[in-house]
């Protein structure tokens, strides 16, 4: 690169980068193209191809042909409305439970943990470095019929004598809550930690009670974090099927279980594709609404905060 142009350009970053940009306008494209193509071919196109597959009819032995069978959408919604509603209900309950458990924890780490703050953050993510399946199987061990905890809960009467913990909706929701708790805690912590604490002091100096200061200052400032945490918990939770599979029975199956078995067991591809396309549409609507409120960048940063 010749230095002539650079030296003559006015000092400051705008000038320098402008000439650079003009000269190397192809460089960013070369950098971005391989990664972007990967996502287009193996993410965007497959998602769209679900629509194409869903409109086909046929069977796995003779093959499927395109018949533009739009009725599949009405059919699969009416056939699996129970599992769809259950997915929303379980995911919603688990999200609320995550918030109730996670908000005080995030608040504690951000403001009270002092020099133990990093240790606590580490403790929150550490369990998730063991395999998800192994952890869920461990919950089976914990909740199984003759386990220590089931017997203890029976003794104090929280579980009826002939009742059980495993294979109930309680077990499935508890499993989902467990799995997605860090997705709630980390964005909450990030937004609380960024907050200017002097605002709370100012409010209490001006005779606001602690509770009023919390309600009028802390909660609104934590708003984006709450929003991100709720989304990051709720969206993956809708699609979860491992917890229902390992901790529940077919009475607890969610829409993810249906998609999984339609694709891999029954091989009824159009129905499976229709259901997963519907789920994608629902998620896109949720994300579009969220992006209007807090922006995709903040949302995505919160995801790996």
């Amino acid at each position: 690169m010749s230095l002539g142009g650079e030296a003559a350009a006015p000092r400051g970053q705008a000038g320098g980068w402008l000439t650079l940009r003009r000269r190397k306008s192809l460089l960013p494209l070369a950098l971005v193209l391989p990664g972007l193509l990967w996502l287009i071919i193996f993410y965007a196109v497959p998602i769209l191809s679900q629509l194409w597959i869903s409109l086909q009819t046929g069977n796995p032995d003779d093959g499927f042909a395109q018949t533009w069978n739009w009725a599949i959408y009405a059919d699969s919604i009416s056939e699996y409305s129970e599992q769809m509603l259950r997915s929303l209900q379980y995911a919603g309950t688990a999200t609320i439970a995550c918030f109730i458990i996670g908000f005080p924890l995030a608040y504690f780490i951000a403001f009270k943990a002092g020099r133990w703050r990093n240790l606590f953050l580490l403790l929150v993510v550490l369990p998730f470095f063991t395999s998800l399946i192994v952890r869920t199987v461990a919950w089976q061990t914990i909740l199984t019929d003759d386990s220590w905890i089931t017997n203890a809960l029976k003794t104090i009467g929280l579980v009826p004598e002939d009742g059980r913990l495993l294979a109930t909706s309680f077990a499935v929701i508890a499993g989902i809550t467990y799995n997605f708790l860090p997705f709630m805690v980390l964005p909450l912590y990030a937004s609380l930690e960024r907050m200017d604490r002097t605002l709370v002091e100012a409010a209490t100096d001006l005779y606001a009670s602690r509770w009023t200061a919390f309600r009028r200052i802390t909660l609104p400032l934590a708003g984006p974090g709450i929003f991100a945490g709720v989304l990051l918990t709720f969206i993956p939770a809708i699609g979860d099927y491992i917890n229902a599979q390992l901790l529940g029975t077919s009475q607890q199956y969610m829409i993810g279980n249906v998609i999984q078995s339609q694709y891999l067991v029954v091989r009824e591809y159009p129905t499976a594709a229709a259901l997963s396309f519907i789920m994608m549409l629902v998620v896109l609507v949720i994300i579009a609404v969220a992006a209007r409120f807090i922006g995709t960048k903040r949302l995505s940063e919160a995801a790996v905060a």
């Binding site: 950098l31 990967w38 504690f108 395999s131 914990i142 995505s300």
Partner: protein
């Protein structure tokens, strides 16, 4: 001005937080404990006494070693591809202005926000349409697809926190873009790249859902455990899970020590010129 009520509130908050962390660790305790269980028969659900025999024979179950090796290979290959692609994408998104940048940022973000079952199902549908046989290759394709976004976001955050003036200074001093990238940008990015690689590896090795759809006859560690769950998971699985966790803890401590040393060294070197903003 701390009233007794405030102290009570702080105390309750502490107890609640401690309880929440305990909740997170309950299954971990169970996993570690039951790796020492002297279980008779297939099931490993009840405690039957202490033994080390599973630790001395961690691969003593048919298919487990194969699955474990497959998972490690898959995660390593995925990490290499995704980190290379992801660093390039992040550089293009942060350091350059070009048409379609916002749309590309959205496309990178979307897979992270898509439920895994949709990712897995969509990819399977696409592979079926293309007539591709599913196996190790389709697993690599799938894993790179869903880890790429995590790499981009990690690297992007690091790039945005970096001082562009250092790169500009290098170029003002006659370094071309490639040299600047090699000698300035990449070394400064190294901690970000390390973090992204660790994240990528961890996500890939743990993936069940997308692999479940696209593995074909290939068995990864999570798929093995899931398959075994119906007939009772062997304690060797607990041994491997515990060992992996210990390995991660070790890596984290090494990383922490490394960062502390780097910070000390940097403070010594940089202190006279705080204007560089490091």
């Amino acid at each position: 001005m701390r009233t007794p009520l405030d102290r009570l509130r702080d105390g309750l908050l502490g107890v609640w937080s401690f309880g929440a962390v305990l909740f997170l660790f309950v299954p971990i305790f169970v996993i570690v404990l039951f790796s020492f269980n002297d279980n008779q028969g297939r099931f490993n659900f009840t405690w039957q006494g202490f033994t080390l025999r599973h630790w001395t024979d961690p691969f003593g179950v048919e298919g487990l070693q194969q699955a474990f090796v497959t998972s490690i290979g898959l995660a390593a290959l995925t990490t290499i591809i995704a980190v290379v692609l992801g660093v390039c994408v992040a550089l293009a998104l942060v350091r350059y202005k070009w048409r379609g940048r916002v749309a590309a940022g959205g496309l990178v973000f979307l897979p992270l926000a898509t439920p895994e079952v949709v990712l897995g199902a969509a990819l399977l549908g696409w592979f079926l349409t293309l007539g591709l046989i599913r196996g190790f290759v389709t697993l690599v394709i799938a894993h790179v697809m869903f880890t790429l976004g995590y790499v981009v976001i990690t690297i992007r955050a690091r790039l945005e926190g970096m001082d562009v003036h250092i790169e500009e200074a290098a170029m003002d001093l006659g370094a071309n873009q490639w040299t600047t990238l090699r000698k300035i940008t990449l070394p400064l990015l190294a901690p970000g790249i390390a973090a992204a690689s660790l994240l990528c590896f961890a996500i890939s090795i743990d993936d069940f859902v997308v692999s479940n759809f696209n593995a074909g006859q290939t068995v990864t560690f999570p798929l093995f455990v899931y398959g075994a769950a119906r007939q009772g998971v062997p304690p060797q699985v607990n041994v491997l899970a515990t060992a992996m966790l210990l390995f991660v803890v070790l890596l984290m401590f090494l990383n922490l020590g490394f960062q502390r040393r780097a910070a000390r060294r940097q403070n010594r070197d940089i202190e006279p010129t705080p204007a560089l903003g490091l």
